[in-house]
């Protein structure tokens, strides 16, 4: 569904994305993990047209979309959310979601009705008429999801929708994400919350310093020594292994 080939982006000497290739299969929840500064958000920005890649290509539904404008990519059915939530402050939750709905719906009344339906799906229907700026962090994350859903996407890229939520809020949001997939929307998520990655995603890539260092089922990936070292530092994998032997 989404095919990234040899994507590269350097910011001066920083290799934010170096020769990254991956293919997101249709109908799955896939994830992208990696330590801070690994280039995950940059990769999202490259895929969705917010940054222009230095080299490489992005194919979506069999068409080359490399360096198209974000709005054009959204029209073709791929939307992203933002790690730092970006509500339209001063507008109500309903109006916020309707902006997404307007991508496919001209009529204001129909877009507002659709916003209401989408709000129901993500559990925001009790806050429809509140100012988006008055929402809690958890509420804003739900709003990000709702706005993206309202565009009727085929693929959603979630940039850390669970970051900053407490464990009970995470437990509430995970079913929402799962329900999105049940409706036939493919999902690629960036996530730090390992609980979410492990329980949600069926396939995962690990990015470190702009390069893919591992991929596979989440359970396999987290025990990969390369991944452990990327997160915890050199030598850590060995030490953990030693300790486990001792315990056994």
């Amino acid at each position: 569904m989404l095919e990234i080939r040899a994507l590269r982006k350097f910011f001066g000497g920083v290799k934010a994305c170096n020769n990254v290739s991956l293919t997101v299969p249709e109908g799955k929840i896939a994830s992208l993990i990696g330590p801070n500064g690994a280039g995950k958000t940059t990769l999202f920005a490259l895929i969705t047209g917010f940054h222009r890649p230095d080299a490489g290509s992005v194919c979506f539904l069999g068409e080359d979309i490399t360096a198209l404008a974000p709005e054009e990519i959204a029209r073709r059915g791929m939307v992203r959310t933002f790690q730092i939530v970006q509500p339209f402050a001063g507008q109500t939750v309903r109006e916020n979601i309707a902006v997404g709905a307007h991508l496919r719906i001209r009529s204001r009344a129909e877009a507002l009705a659709k916003a209401e339906a989408v709000a129901h799906r993500v559990g925001l229907s009790d806050r429809l008429d509140l100012d988006a700026a008055s929402l809690t962090v958890a509420g804003r994350k739900r709003l990000e999801v709702a706005r993206a859903l309202a565009t009727d996407p085929k693929l959603i890229l979630f940039d850390e929708v669970l970051a900053g939520l407490n464990p009970s809020e995470i437990r509430d949001v995970i079913p929402v994400i799962r329900a999105v997939r049940e409706e036939g929307v493919t999902i690629l998520l960036i996530e730090h919350v390992m609980q979410a990655v492990m329980s949600l995603s069926e396939y995962t890539w690990v990015l470190n310093q702009g390069e893919l260092i591992a991929e596979g089922a989440p359970a396999d990936v987290v025990s990969d020594p390369l991944v452990v070292e990327a997160y915890l530092g050199k030598g850590m994998a060995e030490r953990i292994a030693r300790r486990e032997v001792r315990h056994a």
């Binding site: 917010f50 939307v79 970006q86 509500p87 339209f88 507008q91 902006v99 877009a111």
Partner: protein, 327 residues
């Protein structure tokens, strides 16, 4: 819909003015308030709803004014046609300025500075070329009659400005109810988020600047026909640009009725200034500057915001409680 009904009611009441007001002085005041509301509403489309703060709305105003004047004086073309041509030329100028700024993603103060520069360029051009009458200005010959868009009585002018201003207000009402408006406000509040949701920010901003330019240009046409004299400073000078943005900022940015409230407020202020300070050249701009700073600091939502705050106060506690139960 309720807003449209209220709008109709307000303009119906204003429409009574020529029937109940016999003094030319008072009717002139009503005309000038409507005119200021038009100029402000034009700016409000781009600045209030689109979040693009232009400091050069004189570019559109002056183009409308000069178009109708030059067509009449140099080519003998009827000012009613000039009204259309003036609006069209202003839209063209707006499209050029919009394209050259939005295409390169200019925002905030950069956009403001470039629009100011465009207006200044046009002022200097109109000061230099012969067909605008250069620095001497251009005088539209007095030839009163409805066919010439000049009226013996103030009533005629009243209906012209009433109609154009009503058109501007209905347009803004439509913006508040339409997809275009929703997308425009989304771009204002967060351009990146809007684009991620498929809003074509460039196209939406172009639409806004052209609509804004249209009504500014029509205001310019009206000004030319009402006062029958233009020079580069009147048409393209900073006073018009400042008035354009001051009216909606006083009244309430991004609100339908804000510019009307702002026009009323500004009129009262300028009358008071004249009363107490007298005709002191440039004093009005000084006062405007002080008001602008005060408004931005203390009342960023303008008179309309104050009105809704006062209305909300009696129920304030209850509204709070209701919000609490949702959370």
């Amino acid at each position: 819909m309720r807003q449209l009904a209220l709008l109709g009611l307000v303009f119906a009441i204003i429409g009574l003015a020529p029937f109940v007001i016999s003094s030319d002085f008072t009717l002139n005041a009503v005309i000038m308030i409507l005119y200021a509301a038009l100029v402000g509403q034009a700016w409000n489309i781009l600045g209030g709803y689109g979040g693009q703060f232009s400091f050069g709305h004189a570019a559109y105003f002056g183009t409308g004014a000069y178009t109708v004047a030059v067509l009449q004086v140099q080519l003998g073309i009827n000012p009613w046609l000039g009204l259309i041509a003036g609006g069209a030329m202003a839209v063209l100028v707006a499209a050029i300025i919009g394209f050259s700024t939005f295409r390169y993603g200019l925002r905030g103060s950069y956009f403001a500075l470039v629009t100011l520069a465009f207006a200044e360029v046009l002022r200097i051009l109109s000061n230099s070329v012969p067909f605008t009458g250069a620095g001497v200005g251009i005088l539209i010959p007095l030839d009163q009659g409805p066919a010439n868009l000049q009226f013996v009585t103030k009533q005629g002018f009243f209906w012209v400005i009433w109609l154009i201003t009503l058109a501007a207000f209905v347009t803004v009402w439509w913006i508040g109810q339409s997809r275009f408006g929703a997308q425009l406000m989304a771009v204002r509040d967060n351009e990146d988020a809007a684009r991620a949701l498929g809003v074509e920010a460039f196209r939406v901003k172009m639409g806004a600047i052209m609509l804004s330019g249209l009504f500014s240009g029509l205001a310019g046409v009206f000004y030319a026909q009402y006062f029958l004299y233009l020079d580069p400073y009147i048409a393209y000078g900073p006073a018009v640009s400042v008035e354009s943005l001051l009216v909606p900022i006083i009244g309430g940015l991004g609100t339908l009725f804000g510019p009307l409230l702002g026009a009323l407020g500004l009129h009262v202020i300028s009358e008071l200034t004249r009363e107490f300070i007298g005709e002191f050249p440039g004093i009005s701009l000084v006062i405007y500057g002080i008001i602008l700073i005060a408004m931005v600091l203390f009342m960023p939502r303008g008179l309309a915001g104050l009105a809704s705050r006062l209305r909300a106060r009696p129920f304030g506690t209850r509204a709070k409680a209701a919000e609490g139960s949702h959370a």
